[in-house]
Structure formats: structure tokens, C-alpha cells
Symmetry: C2
Subunit: 207 residues, 2 copies
């Protein structure tokens, strides 16, 4: 899988002239980065007398973030694979009416999947933004800037994934699907921007 590449190799592969891995996979990667940094801040808090009060919360957080990081690592691949399936659908034969109908339906289904997968990334990462804000505020204050970087990476993961949702929605004909996904994307976009801004503003006051 892509996460088994070294960072250098993965970046070189991204930079190349193949459209994947692209922004979708990078969004999932940023989600995994956000989780890793949040986990680090929690780990730097555990075992410190000064933070004994939040010790159990921090342990619960590290238990939660580790498996979620693994899931987001898997999405780095899933996003690229979804793109490949759309691309493959466009290459289906289109000589007979039946072939054209099959091709069109396959494209639609593959494109829906290519919207659903980044939506799952956006949902997963949005779901941990409050946890990141918590480790920033209650965790080891020597690592508060690390928690802020985690929050920024989470924002990129959510907003980047939603861009991939939207670009796929633009070629989906199922109006109910499009409306529901657009409404959810609008909400996640607005709220993820607010959550990041809230934390960065708070930290700016103390730095």
C-alpha cells in the first residue's frame, strides 16, 4: 500500500504525471498526521503530575486515535483506487446501445463511490476535531503548538476531502444523492473551519 512507501518515494510518486495519488490521498494522509500529532500530545501528558486530572482522558484518547490513524492510512489507498475505478469505467466499450447503458451506469456508480470515500474521510477527521481541541487545551502545554498543527492538518483533511466530494458530485445525475451530499459537505466545511479558527485564536492569545 501507499503508506508502505518511504516519505521520499510517496512524494516523488505524488509529484509525477499520474493523477493519483493526488489531493484526495493527501487529504487522508493529513487526517492520519492530525491523529498522530494528537496522540503525541496525549502521550506527552500521560504520567505528568501536573496533568494527573486528565490522565484517564488522555489514555482514552490514545486508545481511540491509534486505530483511527490506521483507518485513515487505508483511505490514502482507497481514495486513489476509487479514482482508478472511475477512470476504468470511462474506458468501457460504447459501441452498442447496451454497452453505452452499462458504461454510463458503471461510471455513475464509480463516481458515487469516489464521492463517498472522501466524504468518509471528512466525517472521520471532523469527528476528532473536538478531541484535538481538548488535547490542545488540557494536555501538556509544552506541546500546544503541536496540537495546533494537528488541527490545521485536520482542517486540510476535511476541506481537501470535501473538494473531492464536490468535484465528483458535479458529474452525478442522482439528484437526491447530490443534494444530500452537498448539504452535508456545506455543514462539515463551515464547522471544520470554525473549529480550527477557534483553537488558533485561543492559542494566539497565549503565544
Amino acid at each position: 500500500m501507499l503508506a508502505d512507501l518511504t516519505i521520499k518515494e510517496f512524494l516523488a510518486k505524488t509529484a509525477g504525471s499520474d493523477p493519483v495519488p493526488g489531493g484526495g490521498s493527501i487529504s487522508a494522509l493529513n487526517g492520519a498526521i492530525a491523529l498522530a500529532l494528537a496522540e503525541m500530545v496525549a502521550n506527552l501528558t500521560v504520567g505528568k503530575k501536573k496533568y494527573a486530572e486528565v490522565e484517564n482522558d488522555m489514555l482514552a484518547i490514545t486508545a481511540k486515535t491509534a486505530p483511527l490513524r490506521q483507518r485513515l492510512i487505508e483511505y490514502i489507498d482507497k481514495d486513489s483506487e476509487a479514482y482508478d475505478r472511475v477512470f476504468a469505467a470511462f474506458k468501457l466499450p460504447k459501441e452498442t446501445d447496451e454497452q453505452m447503458a452499462v458504461r454510463s451506469q458503471t461510471i455513475q456508480e464509480a463516481t458515487k463511490d469516489a464521492a463517498r470515500i472522501p466524504m468518509m474521510v471528512a466525517e472521520e477527521v471532523f469527528g476528532v476535531m473536538d478531541t484535538i481541541a481538548y488535547v490542545a487545551e488540557k494536555g501538556n502545554q509544552n506541546a500546544v503548538t503541536d496540537a495546533c498543527v494537528a488541527m490545521m492538518a485536520a482542517r486540510t483533511a476535511v476541506l481537501g476531502a470535501l473538494l473531492n466530494v464536490r468535484i465528483n458530485l458535479s458529474s452525478i445525475k442522482d439528484e437526491i444523492f447530490v443534494r444530500e451530499m452537498t448539504e452535508r459537505a456545506d455543514t462539515l466545511e463551515k464547522q471544520s473551519i470554525e473549529k480550527e479558527q477557534l483553537l488558533l485564536n485561543k492559542v494566539k492569545e497565549i503565544l
Copy 2:
């Protein structure tokens, strides 16, 4: 070096209870990610009839982004090493007056370096934000969301690095150094936020 680790290994190392690699290294990594995505968009533009007009510009961009990506990859390590040097300075002996003076000066110098290194990351990445906006607007429009994710990663690189600049400035006694770095950080912060917002707003209109 850290970029020779697989993505999985690097994330596991980040998540652990060692303060490095932390937000500073992740900021440099996001700079390298931004460069890789911008290069991909330029590569997806080169050789396309529709974009013949910007062909030479795109080739010039790929020639520029590749070495800069390498430099940012090096900063992933440099940031962590700078932190380690500050940490080592704090462990110097402080029994005699002379030892205390040497220790204090070594801490100050190491902390200045730990501010200078993320400032270099912020400057380098800020310096390519206009290039990212250019590939987003003039490059292959099928990859416009990839360029947006590049811009978000660049914003994280700049803002994340500046947080690390500021937290180090808070313990530096050289007032001129602190004032100059703070003024530059304020400018870079403001302008990088504006540049990202400008691009995301433009793309939002067309998606």
C-alpha cells in the same frame, strides 16, 4: 533521515511519546507535500494542446519545485535536530558561575536556531504560494482541487512553522532578534492566510 522512513513508520514515530518529530517537522513535511502536488498539476498540464500557452511556464515550475521539495524534506530533520540541541543545552552542567554562563548562552543560541529553522521553512513555502495559485488558475483544470490541497498544505506549513518560531521567541532575550522575527512572522501569517483564502474562494465559485 526521517523521510527515509515509510509513511506508517514516520506516523508511528510522530504519535509516540518523544516530542520530535512534532509540529515543526510536520510543517516542513506539509511544505514538501504542497510542492509535490503543485508539481503534479504542472506535470498534468504539460503536453496538453489546450494548455500549450502555459507549457513553458509549467516546465519552469517543475524545474523549480523538485529541488525545493528536496530542501523541505531536509527541514523535516533539521527542525527535529534543532529541538534536540535546545534540549541538550538545558542538560549542560550549572554548578559554577562559569558553567551557568556557558549553559545560558548555549541555550540562547540553540533557541535562536530553533526559531530560525522554522522561519526558513515559512519563508520557503510562502515563496511558492503564488506559484501554487498560478498552477491552480492556469494549469489543467481537472486537477484544480489538487492545487487547492497543495495551497492548504502550504498554509499549514507556513502557519505551523510560525507557531514554532513564536514559541521559541518567547524564551529568547535578544530583543532586536525577537522584534525582527515577530514582525516578519506577523507579515507571513497574514499574507499566507490571505493567499489561501483567495484561491479557495475562487475555486468555490466554479465547483
